[in-house]
């Protein structure tokens, strides 16, 4: 039984690792995210191969039930990432808005056949 779950989790985390590697190879991930997800999948593999690691870490931090440490770490990471993405989205949509406005104003100037804006 114990063997089974270990085999499954090793297969799973190696799968994640391969998936991330593939994304990086195809340049679908920006470097900053590539590094992050690469590290995360390495961590997963480490935990599934070295079975004592999670228990030790839990003991060190005074967590009674080791798997809950795993959950906590996962939730924390998800939370931080979500905030990070919200920030990126906000910045991107602000820039997107400004670009659309500038584009509209430029198009108008071209239609009017004007080279430069009137001095303000």
């Amino acid at each position: 039984m114990d063997q089974q779950i270990q085999v499954i989790s090793i297969i799973g985390s190696v799968g994640v690792m391969l998936f991330v590697t593939q994304l990086i190879r195809r340049r679908k991930l920006r470097e900053e995210y590539a590094l992050l997800w690469f590290a995360a999948s390495l961590g997963l593999i480490l935990i599934s191969v070295w079975r004592g690691l999670l228990d030790r870490a839990a003991k060190l931090l005074g967590v009674a039930y080791p798997p809950s440490l795993l959950l906590l770490a996962g939730i924390a990471m998800g939370f931080i990432l979500s905030i990070h993405f919200s920030l990126s989205l906000t910045r991107l949509s602000e820039q997107n808005k400004r670009l659309a406005q500038e584009l509209a104003l430029l198009a108008n100037r071209i239609e009017r056949g004007e080279g430069r804006p009137a001095p303000s």
Binding site: A100, Q101, A104, L105, N108, A118
Partner: protein, 260 residues
């Protein structure tokens, strides 16, 4: 008071350059009438239709040649649309910008009332409620207006009776300020508070408005509740920010509200 302004307007050289900003989203029914109305009352001033990515033929309408058109590539919402007009005003050196809805609610014969007050304020809002009249919006709109009135009084210590009104005139300082930061959805109430807290003088004048001629209101029922919550959060947090920023810019003005 109006006389001061009128005298100024008669002298050709000191006559301020006025830009009418008409935000339009699918307003094919009403826009020609709006432009004609403005043209009739203001034959020499620039009318700028900012088309917020309309999906109908708003920009191909008859009469549109009487106005300048800036067309946003996709729908950005009323806030960004008006801001585009303000950016245009800054870039092209206009002294005064009048926000005038494309749905036919606003009347060109009421514009002078706003302009007359610009000698005394940075922003003038056309109010339906300053004087008793028969205007009745939907219950949601009235509830919204009431809540914003309350928030306004608490935050900036003054009562703006019609803070959702999109019938406004801005002077040069307010134009430059708002071109840089204009709130997103449901921007009317928030921009009043932003302006006040940044130290600009905001005034209200009573105006008469028309019933809507066509097009859809920019906000539905559920959405208005959602926007309301959003704006309240934005305003609540903004309180801690705008004060500091305005002082940084050195644009703070101690007597920031004239309306009493």
């Amino acid at each position: 008071m109006a006389l001061v302004y009128s005298n100024k307007r008669m002298e050709k050289h000191s006559r301020p350059r006025v830009l009418f900003i008409v935000p339009a989203y699918n307003e094919r029914e009403s826009l020609p009438g709006v432009i004609a109305d403005l043209r009739q009352h203001f034959p020499d001033d620039q009318i700028l239709v900012v088309d917020d990515g309309s999906t109908d033929d708003t920009v191909a309408l008859a009469g549109i040649h009487l106005a300048e058109v800036v067309r946003l590539p996709f729908n950005l919402g009323i806030g960004a649309t008006v801001q585009t007009g303000l950016l245009y005003a800054v870039r092209n050196g206009y002294d005064i910008a009048v926000q005038f809805d494309g749905d036919g609610q606003h009347r060109a014969d009421q514009v002078e009332k706003l302009l007359a007050q610009l000698d005394f304020a940075d922003a003038v809002i056309g109010s339906r409620f300053l004087e008793r009249n028969s205007y009745r919006g939907s219950i949601f709109r009235r509830a919204g207006i009431f809540i914003f009135r309350l928030v306004n009084s608490i935050l900036v210590g003054a009562t703006i009776t019609d803070n959702t009104s999109g019938f406004r005139a801005y002077g040069p300082r307010a134009i430059r300020f708002l071109a840089e930061e204009y709130p997103h959805d449901y921007p009317e109430p928030e921009s009043v508070i932003t302006l006040c807290r940044a130290g600009y003088r905001v005034k209200e004048v009573a105006v008469v408005m028309q019933r809507r001629m066509g097009g859809q209101s920019s906000i539905g029922l559920l959405k208005s509740v959602y926007y309301m919550a959003k704006v309240l959060v934005a305003v609540g947090i903004g309180v801690t920010r705008t004060r500091a920023r305005s002082l940084q810019n050195g644009s703070a003005n101690p007597g920031y509200l004239d309306h009493r």
